[in-house]
């Protein structure tokens, strides 16, 4: 309840600033362009696909790549949305309002997390309108589309949780943005080492976010991958609560 109050205020402030609208507009524009090129590509190879038995469909060749591209764009913009969450409250001293109100640290963190997550879901929804527009002209594999959406939701929540934690430890919003972008990018590419020679570290492969995301995107909903994301999200949320709690104990 308290976290919903905080989330409501946070979302409102987000949409009162031009940042949210700009992000919605620009990401939509870029992804629409990518979607279009993907369709174009599909149309050129379509004659060849007809000859193949068990050929990949439009879901594999257009929709999954669209979400793959969207993931990279979210990697770039989520830090910009999460960066202000805690650091700005500290900077503007508004945090004392939350600290003196009868609410727990968990309420504060969950509220902040929910607000940005809802914003990211709005973005995801407007992106999903593109594949849905194909329904009248093509057969879409809804099972795979659902898997893609699940993958996106888990990924966005993970980005969000990490960004929130960075905002809780950084004293300046921009520092939080740089740190969360760096951390996310590193987690994205960490399995590159040794992947060409074929002796990649299994630990790095497990840590890599992209690996879990891509297997979900292919339609393989594996509990290992889902669990990875849930652990990741819960882990960073707990860390954020601890960090905020630490404000009162500052040395």
């Amino acid at each position: 309840m308290n976290s919903l109050t905080i989330a409501g205020r946070e979302l409102r402030s987000l949409f009162l600033s031009p940042l949210a609208w700009t992000m919605l507009g620009i990401s939509q524009l870029i992804l629409a362009y990518m979607f279009l090129t993907q369709i174009d590509f599909y149309l050129t190879i379509q004659p060849k696909l007809v000859e193949l038995a068990n050929a990949p469909g439009i879901t594999d060749l257009v929709i999954a790549p669209l979400y793959g591209n969207a993931a990279v764009i979210f990697l770039l913009i989520t830090p910009l949305i999460t960066m202000r969450l805690i650091s700005d409250e500290r900077r503007n001293k508004t945090i004392s309002l939350l600290f003196s109100a009868p609410i727990s640290m968990t309420d504060i963190i969950l509220g902040k997390f929910l607000a940005t997550f809802i914003f990211l879901l709005i973005m995801l929804f407007s992106i999903t309108l593109m594949p849905l527009s194909l329904i009248p002209i093509a057969t879409i594999d809804f099972g795979k589309l659902t898997a893609c959406l699940l993958a996106m939701m888990l990924l966005l929540a993970a980005f969000d949780a990490l960004g929130l934690y960075m905002s809780a430890i950084a004293s300046q919003a921009t520092v939080a943005a740089v740190c969360s972008f760096g951390a996310l990018l590193l987690l994205w590419i960490i399995d590159w080492a040794g992947s060409n020679s074929g002796n990649a570290s299994p630990l790095f492969e497990y840590i890599s976010m992209m690996r879990h995301f891509e297997s979900l995107l292919r339609g393989l909903v594996h509990s290992t991958d889902v669990l990875y994301f849930i652990l990741f999200i819960a882990g960073f949320l707990v860390l954020s609560v601890r960090r905020l709690d630490n404000d009162r104990l500052q040395k």
Partner: protein
Amino acid sequence: MKHTNSRMSSLIEVNNVSRHFGDHCAVDDVSFSLNQGEILGFLGPNGAGKSTTMKMICGNLAPSVGEIKIQGYDILEQPKMAKAELGFLADTPPLYTDLTVDEYLQYCAKLHGLKAGAITTSVTQGKDNCGLTDMGHRLIANLSKGYQQRVGIAQAILHNPSVIILDEPTVGLDPIQILEIRQLIRQLGQQHSVILSTHILPEVQQSCSRVQIIHHGKLVLNESIDTLNDRMSSSSLLVKFKRSVDISMLKSLPDITDITETSDNQFRIQHGQNQNPAETIANLAVNENLGLLELTPETHNMEQIFLSLTQAEPHDE
């Protein structure tokens, strides 16, 4: 949510609280308690530990040592219960400048767990109390500093808390607003306990029922305003005559302990605490035709007491 503990008469209890920041000790072993209906003025020079103490009472900072209880609830062990009884205005008012006054106050009311029906009435009342009635639709960012300060005060009293803590509430207000806020504080003090910190000494004399002075993190004075007023009452007279006077003649008058000549024919006459020789001096002046020009009781004010307590160590000025 109301008092489970009826034997508690004091709303705030601060027991042996200290706070260290690294090696620096900001608050050193401070203890006091505050009863219902008291207005406590918290004084001290900059950096004395006023804000730190207030932040600790409100749970924004955890004390290094000691305990703080609000209505019997420990601020660290039962923070939700304790904070429900608190209204706090920090030295910088915690305002979201992109919201309107109404939106902001509604948000604060929700944070304090007011029920949907009570929110509108309490927001209206809060605005009335702080003179914000016509400002509801204005953006906080566009308000002047004084009005922002009022929004901060409205936020602190919105949920009708039993303890109200205001850190320098009259900063940035114009003289009329200051009078209004003082009146508001006195009014609040009838049903609530109020702690307010300030640099303005007359403000304390006018609005507070108790005064505490904190210096270098230590409580150096904790007295009711009445005791303090006694201490401040006059014990010297400033007298000026037109014609020259023999000082021994004045000395022979009763009740006079000491006389010093401050300038030509002007004297400072020290007398006992509860005696006033003004009448005898006036009579003497008339009888001897000395031409009395001035006869003023000298009062010690807050300022002198404050300075004597906070500048005990040698000071080159």
